[in-house]
């Protein structure tokens, strides 16, 4: 509960943050909303010697119409995503999922970029981003690059971001007419999902799973089954295929696999898939 000592740097711009990352290397951590980083620091599970605060970069907090997509600044708080009319009409699942994160206090501090960069398989927003086939815009010392959501999550709490790169924008394809569903199963409203399922059905159906492996992931077996013409019920039965769900106090692997099947079934039915 008492973090180890660290130096605090307030970044005045994305460029300054990237430069500071370059300067301090592995010792440094960006801090956006701090709602994943600070708990780790308080448990002394993370002990960065430099914390670079990007939380006040208000020019990276926006939700803009980008033509065929909605462009969301990485520092946009969950609460802003939750209440955005543009998102509610163009990618309603994302607004809905943002409203399922934690509690109101968390949603007013935590940022979309922070949630994605943290890469926690138990987080809600990565699943929505995966099901939406969004694109990450990333800046580093040598400029900007784009990473597909499906390439972004590489390992447990690991992403395709290099140590000196920063996530600046998330581009979400507009899917105003898609069927969608988010099924979050937890014990208390403010908790992380024991298992969660995001489904977006727009011609084909994308299904992403929360807390069913080392990373946020797509339910490949379900999508393949649906692609092969399986019924929603049959496809749902494949929810845990090929996966090694984590085990914790809330759920062992068997129960998680069972939940995934039930919740995928519900999600497909609500999204009108299969």
């Amino acid at each position: 509960m008492i973090p180890a000592a660290f130096d605090y740097v307030e970044a005045v711009s994305a460029e300054a943050a990237i430069a500071a990352l370059g300067q301090h290397g592995d010792e440094a951590k960006l801090m956006a909303g701090g709602h994943s980083l600070l708990p780790l620091m308080k448990f002394r599970l993370a002990t960065p010697s430099v914390v670079i605060d990007i939380g006040r970069l208000s020019d990276l907090s926006y939700i803009n119409d980008g033509g065929d997509h909605v462009a969301i600044g990485a520092l946009t708080r969950h609460a802003a995503v939750e209440t955005s009319d543009l998102l509610k009409s163009q990618a309603p699942i994302l607004a809905h999922v943002a409203g399922e994160v934690g509690d109101p206090a968390v949603r007013h501090r935590g940022t979309l970029g922070g949630s994605l960069a943290h890469g926690d398989p138990a987080s809600d927003l990565p699943a929505a981003i995966l099901a939406l086939n969004a694109t990450m815009v990333v800046k580093g010392p040598s400029g900007q690059r784009e990473i597909a959501a499906t390439d972004f999550f590489t390992g447990f709490l690991q992403t395709a971001l290099a140590a000196d790169e920063m996530l600046t924008e998330i581009r979400v394809p507009k899917v105003p007419d898609a069927g969608w569903s988010y099924q979050k199963f937890n014990r208390r409203a403010q908790d992380w999902a024991i298992v969660g399922v995001a489904a977006v059905s727009n011609g084909s159906t994308n299904v992403a799973l929360v807390n069913m492996g080392q990373t946020p992931l797509r339910a490949a077996a379900v999508e393949a089954a649906l692609g092969g013409g399986a019924s929603a019920a049959d496809a749902a039965a494949a929810a845990a295929e090929g996966l090694t769900p984590p085990e914790d106090l809330n759920a062992d692997a068997t129960y998680r696999a069972h939940l995934a099947k039930v919740l995928v079934g519900r999600a497909l039915s609500e999204a009108g898939a299969g």
Binding site: M1, A4, R187, R188, A251, Y255
Partner: protein, 788 residues
């Protein structure tokens, strides 16, 4: 003056607390203070081979580092930490000092302490202390302890601390079971719970500059008890010790203890001549503050063909944890008397074995033994209902004490005399409020429709014991203190009133309730009353707040002190009005002479007259300032009926509490809003045990969920809008006719919820489910039930 007793007056305490004006221990800063950083054992059971403090001593801001053996050599303590409830003469109680010198007996046992200028420096330095452990076998559960292959304390040669029995008529119990038509047997686990008061514990010990005197601020329920115990364990003269409990953010029993950290702060401050402080972190609390429950229960009921109880037989194994804390061994004993519930039980037998484990000690937690008891009998009553083939409400009706009719001073099979009860109408009121028959119809309709979401309805008709007294009865239980409480009422020269309360609030609203009692008695405005409390220098006599005792003992003392004030004022009034005592009436705060209403004196005027003492009856002492120390003749026995309505999603195993109806009877009420608040909070704590909370340990004795990330305390989003109702059966144990309300909610709710979950799952062959009924457990039970 309109009546103030029985009205839902808003709490006087709240504006201060809501605007952040309340000062908690952690808010109090003292120049030159040193922070303690605890080095806690990371092993559940290990010999301490050596401790290297050299790196820690070099850390910035560090004043000193002491190991357990260094502290032992400093002669800081004249006695180990106290246990005041040695339930049997031969109870084992290994000496427990604030810091382990040779052997650590649970994860979190303090093995060394760092003193530093700031909390952060103390934490950083504590991390640098290197302890060389020789790991010993770990008794990581109650089951381990009972098995006895490993020993929690090597030198004791056994894990069993005591055997306690309440067997008034063993032959009758045997005979009843031998001739019973129906018998049921329930085996229940009362899981360990981590108390989670909003404010963690903390202490600040401040020595006087010239030495010798100590002021100790503690986030405690029991400043008076601390004062005595600090003196008894440290040898510091008792009159030199002042204990202050400033604003205290909840306790639930977890602040009813004398803790190692407090004793360390007191003795180090006294030795070093510097203020010493500590505030536990949330995760530290899972190791440094005692836990609740921790019992395995076996309960059997023998009944006749109609389901009328012939006997109840209970055995408990109780997890003491690593050490006996203040009243650790007494918790299951306190519960023993309630395993007969609200029922007419002709023969009763109870035995309890207390065991040591290498886990954090257990002790009182909201209800302390009584929620466990009520859970066991109320779960077993549902089992009996199923066995006999009648509804849960019917089995209860058939067995109520006095047939559900009103009674007073009724002796029960558990040897106690229940002060008053009237159970039938209370059950009726609850069933009516819940719409019981309608709920049963809805349940059936869902089943007929093949709904995967089952409805479950659960009942609990509890009784509990509060206001532990008289002191003589406590002597019979070998409890180390009395059961009295002190209250003083003094009228100030200007006619305002100061009340000195011996019982010490930590969230209950004493300031409001006591003001109402006094206002009602003296016929004055409750805002003219100020209640002083929680400081042994201001309120020297008291036994504090626990066991739902404050109103039924302490509040009554204040009412009685008001009566004494009125008696004296009446004599002054008679003297000054030149009237006969018998001709005086006291109404609306004023004494007047019958028949001549213009001859009157307000109590405020008399107060001024008593202060100047210019014209008092011969020989009368000046001032209106009266103290009463009340030692009630008996306990008080609140009761009630709780109805829980749950929905169980049989696909996921998830349980949702849809509705909760509580009809409680705590006798006469002073402030119904405060009662309701207590009932609500209590219910949530029982729901928490039923559905959410458990301290999980691995085989090495490590707590797996010491933070709020994994230790699930329910929040408002998990709870329905609790509906409360009341019946009123005044207590015969005190002149106000009041009973306690602080723990009743918890005592009724866990059984109601689990009865509801089991009721929902009856079609799946599920007869019982261990607490907490997590979704995974429920799902597994459905699978096993339908397979079996």
């Amino acid at each position: 003056m309109t009546a103030v007793m029985g009205t839902p007056m808003k709490r006087k305490e709240d504006p201060k607390l809501l605007t952040g004006e309340g000062k908690f221990v952690d808010d109090i800063q003292v120049p030159g203070q040193l922070w303690m950083g605890m080095v806690r054992s990371t092993m559940a059971h290990a010999n301490i081979k050596g401790i290297d403090t050299s790196a820690a001593a070099q850390m910035p801001g560090v004043h000193s580092v002491y190991t357990g053996s260094e502290l032992a050599d400093m002669d800081l303590w004249i006695a180990p930490l106290p246990c005041v409830w040695p339930v049997t003469p031969d109870m084992l109680n290994p000496p427990h000092y604030p810091v382990a010198a040779e052997t650590a007996h649970h994860v979190g046992d303090i093995v060394a302490v760092v003193l530093a200028d700031s909390r952060y420096e103390a934490a950083d330095a504590a991390e640098q202390v290197v302890v060389d452990y020789e790991v010993l076998p770990v008794v990581a559960s109650l089951a381990d302890a009972v098995a006895g292959e490993k020993l929690a304390h090597q030198d004791l040669g056994t894990n069993q601390a005591y055997h306690w029995a309440l067997e008034p008529a063993p032959e009758a119990v045997e005979a009843a079971f031998a001739s019973a038509v129906h018998t049921v047997k329930g085996e229940f686990v009362q899981q360990r719970l981590i108390p989670a008061a909003m404010e963690p514990r903390g202490v600040l010990a401040v020595p006087s500059p010239h030495g010798g005197e100590l002021t100790i601020y503690s986030s405690t329920q029991v400043p008076h008890i601390l004062k005595v115990m600090f003196a008894a364990t440290t040898g510091i003269p008792e009159q030199k010790i002042r204990v202050i409990a400033p604003a205290v953010g909840g306790g639930f029993g977890a602040k009813l203890n004398v803790n190692p950290d407090e004793l360390l702060a007191v003795t180090l401050a006294n030795r070093l001549g510097r203020a010493v402080r500590w505030t536990e972190t949330r995760s530290e609390a899972a190791f440094s503050t005692h836990q609740g429950r921790g019992q395995h229960q076996t309960i059997e009921i023998a009944a006749d063909a109609e389901g009328k109880i012939q006997a109840v037989r209970v055995h408990l194994n109780a997890d003491m944890g690593a050490y006996m804390m203040l009243i650790t061994p007494g918790v299951p004993v306190l519960g023993s008397f309630l395993y007969t519930g609200v029922y007419n039980v002709p023969a009763f037998g109870f035995t309890c074995d207390g065991y040591f484990t290498n886990l954090t000690p257990t002790d009182a937690y909201r209800g302390a033994g009584r929620p466990e008891a009520s859970y066991a009998i109320e779960r077993a009553m549902d089992m009996l209902a199923a066995e006999v083939g009648v509804g849960p409400e019917e089995i209860r009706r058939r067995n109520y004490l006095a047939g559900g009719e009103a009674f007073e001073d009724l002796e029960t099979a558990s040897t106690l005399v229940f002060d008053s009860g009237h159970y039938g109408p209370n059950l009726d009121a609850a069933l009516e409020m819940a719409g019981y028959s309608d709920l049963l119809a809805q349940q059936q309709a869902r089943r007929d429709a093949g709904d995967k979401k089952e409805l479950g309805i659960g009942l609990c008709t509890y009784v509990e014991i509060c206001g532990l007294a008289p002191s003589r009865a406590l002597a019979g239980l070998n409890y180390g203190a009395g059961g009295w409480e002190a209250g003083t009422v003094r009228l100030l020269p200007t006619g305002k009133v100061e009340v000195v309360s011996g019982s010490t609030p930590h969230g209950q609203g004493h300031e409001t309730s006591w003001s109402q009692i006094v206002a009602d008695k003296l016929g004055i405005d409750p805002n003219d009353v100020t209640v002083l409390h929680s400081d042994t220098a201001i309120s020297p006599l008291g036994l504090d707040t626990y066991g739902s005792r404050s109103l039924s003992v302490g509040g009554v003392a204040i009412a009685m002190a008001c009566d004494k004030v009125i008696d004296k004022a009446k004599q002054i009034a008679a003297h000054q009005l030149e009237a006969n005592l018998d001709d005086l009436t006291f109404e609306g705060g004023s004494f007047s002479v019958k028949g001549s209403p213009d001859k009157a004196l307000a109590i405020q005027e008399i107060a001024f007259g008593a202060f100047t003492a210019h014209n008092l009856p011969d020989g009368m002492e000046p001032n209106l300032n009266e103290q009463v120390i009340f030692d009630p003749p008996n306990f008080a026995f609140p009761f009630g009926t709780h109805v829980a309505v749950v929905e169980v999603d049989t696909d996921t195993g998830g349980t949702t509490l849809l509705d909760y109806i509580a009809v409680d009877d705590c006798g006469n009420q002073v402030n119904p809003m405060i009662v309701e608040g207590q009932i609500h909070g209590g219910i949530v704590q029982g729901v928490a045990q039923a559905l959410y909370e458990v301290a999980e340990y691995d085989a090495d004795g490590n707590c797996k969920n010491p933070s709020f990330l994994d230790y699930l305390v329910p929040s408002p989003t998990e709870l329905p809008n609790i509906k409360t109702g009341f019946t009123t059966t005044p207590s015969t144990s005190n002149p106000l006719g009041v009973k306690g309300a602080g723990e009743a909610g918890t005592i009724g709710s866990a059984a109601a919820v689990i009865n509801a979950v089991c009721n929902a799952l009856k079609p799946y062959g599920v007869n019982d489910i261990e607490m907490p009924a997590t979704p995974m457990r429920v799902w597994q039970a459905i699978n096993e039930g339908s397979q079996g």
